[in-house]
């Protein structure tokens, strides 16, 4: 170790020697250019660097911000160091340790803004170097992510914070060390109200060691602004014992704000559309009802056309609002005990006149399918499936409806002998305004929102919609919901 400091020499005249020095001091100006080195540099760097060489040439992986951070610590007397891959002037890459030295005049160059001690670690055993290089790589990965990444102990104190934590939360990295992650971030639900302890994803994960991905939440920056976030908690295990958790916090404020604006816009538009529709529908209704005298058959027909299209517009506005509310979770659900077979029987009764008009047959078998769900929403979901099946089947076709359950699930299956859905479009049929053939919208009516609504209702009720289809043979849609817990008292009575 060369602790003794020697007077500075101009960089350009430092001789290249082969003395095998493993340490040198570089002096940088405020623009991070090398303005001086000590006598060992030429040996360590395998060449003489000319004055004004940017430090990136030697330390290509170090961002200048790191020098700034280490400077504050250097001035406080601690001597911070970090490892990095450095490059000799002959191109050889080696593992090095950099230490920012405290400010000192004169050495190795007057007016230097930064003095950096560079230690060559290439004499360490190969396995040790590999390990440290791997750690550097992992640090780079953690530094590159724009999400907050915290490591916390069992008392949710932060023992690791990646650089983005500072940027996202508007804090210095030193604020994080040892701080309570919940207090520091003011972690709360997305609307800002506190998590009840039993629902706090961090506390739960630190208790049961189970991952909780993508929890809607919010955090508060140092300046007081609240960010809408997605929080993922994963347990850290040490020897099989729960030792802490990794918290990954993703800022989704922009997305959430855009979603809210869209909701408000749609809600306003729908409301503004409904007023003129009320007037149109009302006027036509009174004309058709003969309030102002009997209409001629032609006039009556025209009024009917206007009426049925007004109804279609009203349905579209209603469906649009419904799907928006469902997707933003703003449809209140009143779960009650009900059997899907009863709901289906009721819906088939309602659809019978429409089926009869087109000589279609609604048939099926109805086994018990008990669920706990909102009657109104379930009925809408099933009605959409059945009326879709009718819409996409020829006159005189049959539609089969079947209900049933196993120990975990209860379902309604609606099968048709219609045109079928091309395989490459199966995945997108639950999107809004998605009809396989754009002509479908005009020929068959419907808003193109029915399946989207059904899909949203299914997931709001903890279920899903499965679909199978083959072109020319037909399609089968199955609404699957969690089966209601068997009620002992009822089954005995």
């Amino acid at each position: 170790m060369h602790r003794k400091e020697v007077a500075a020499r101009p960089v350009t005249t430092a001789p290249v020697d082969n003395l095998g020095y493993k340490e040198t001091v570089l002096a940088l100006d405020s623009a991070y250019a090398i303005v001086g080195t000590d006598y060992r540099a030429a040996s360590l760097l395998a060449g003489t660097c000319s004055a004004g060489t940017p430090v990136d040439v030697i330390l290509p992986d170090v961002s200048v911000g790191l020098f700034g951070t280490s400077r504050r610590r250097a001035d406080r007397g601690s001597s911070p160091s970090f490892e990095t891959l450095a490059r000799r002037l002959d191109g050889e890459v080696f593992l090095a340790e950099c230490t920012r030295l405290p400010e000192r005049q004169g050495y190795p160059a007057d007016g230097a803004a930064i003095r950096l001690k560079l230690r060559d670690l290439s004499d360490l055993p190969e396995s040790e170097q590999l390990l440290r290089r791997k750690r550097l790589r992992e640090q780079q990965i953690l530094s590159a992510t724009r999400n907050v990444v915290f490591g916390v102990d069992l008392q949710h104190r932060i023992d690791f914070a990646n650089p983005a934590s500072g940027t996202v939360l508007g804090r210095r990295l030193r604020d994080f060390a040892g701080a309570d992650a919940l207090e520091l971030t003011s972690l709360a639900q997305a609307d800002g109200s506190p998590f009840p302890d039993v629902d706090n994803p961090v506390l739960r994960t630190l208790e049961d060691g189970i991952s909780r991905p993508m929890v809607e939440s919010s955090v508060v920056r140092r300046d007081g602004t609240r960010l809408i976030t997605e929080l993922s908690c994963s347990p850290i295990l040490e020897g099989g014992e729960l030792a802490g958790a990794v918290l990954v916090i993703n800022d989704v404020t922009e997305r959430a704000t855009a979603q809210r604006r869209k909701d408000e816009f749609l809600s306003t538009v729908s409301h503004e559309l409904r007023s003129p529709l009320t007037s149109i529908r009302g006027s036509l209704g009174m004309l058709a009802g003969g309030i102002f005298g009997e209409l001629s058959p032609d006039a009556g027909h025209m009024v009917d056309v206007a009426m049925s299209n007004t109804h279609r517009l009203i349905r579209l506005v209603n469906d649009l609002l419904h799907v928006e509310r469902l997707s933003s979770g703003r449809v209140p659900m009143e779960p009650v005990d009900l059997d899907l077979s009863d709901a289906v029987a009721e819906i088939i009764k309602q659809q019978a006149p429409a089926a009869m008009q087109r000589s279609q047959r609604l048939a099926g078998s109805f086994d018990s399918a008990p669920v706990v769900a909102d009657v109104h929403q379930v009925s809408i979901a099933i009605t959409n499936l059945i009326s879709n099946a009718m819409k996409f089947s020829a006159d005189g076709a049959s539609i089969y409806v079947q209900t049933g359950s196993d120990t975990e699930h209860a379902w309604v299956t609606v099968r048709d002998e219609g045109t079928g859905i091309p395989a490459d479009q199966l995945a997108s049929i639950f999107e809004r305004f998605r009809q396989v053939d754009t002509a479908d919208a005009t020929v068959r009516g419907g808003s193109g929102l029915g399946l989207s609504i059904t899909g949203h209702i299914a997931s709001a009720l903890g279920g899903r919609v499965d679909v199978e289809s083959s072109l020319g043979v037909g399609s089968s849609f199955r609404l699957v919901l969690p089966r209601a817990e068997p009620n002992v008292e009822t089954s005995q009575s």
């Binding site: 007023s275 009320t278 006027s283 509310r325």
Partner: protein, 124 residues
């Protein structure tokens, strides 16, 4: 003698339609006004048997007007039915908590409006 119904809606077309439906189809004696303040004045002087009132109105809105009607000596006994373009179940539930006789939805069918209105008021 036919029953008196006061229609309150700030949209002049809807006001006309509702009034026409209630008089021509329902056979009621109808008057119509365009805001909450007029509604209170006419209700007080004309003494209708019921009021059909829009919820969203500039100035004095439906619920606020209903509150004033209930507070007035000459108007406190007049039943109110709301009519609204808000479809949300949540809004409907909030309105149903108000001490009104019922809520009707826009768009309405003018041919059935008088019957629906009467049913809410339990008129026979």
């Amino acid at each position: 003698m036919s029953r008196r119904v006061l229609v309150v809606d700030d949209d002049p077309d809807i006001k006309l339609l509702a009034a026409t439906a209630l008089s021509r189809v329902g056979g009621f004696d109808v008057r119509a006004v365009g805001n909450g303040k007029e509604a209170i004045d006419v209700a007080s002087s004309w003494q209708p048997d019921a009021i059909l009132m829009d919820v969203h109105m500039p100035g004095l809105d439906g619920p606020a007007t209903a509150d004033r009607l209930r507070a007035g000596d000459r108007t406190c006994a007049i039943p109110v039915v709301f009519i609204t373009a808000s479809v949300g179940a949540a809004e409907a539930a909030a309105l149903s908590l108000l001490p009104v006789s019922g809520v009707l939805m826009k768009p309405f069918d003018p041919m059935t409006l008088p019957a629906d209105f009467s049913a809410l008021l339990e008129w026979t």
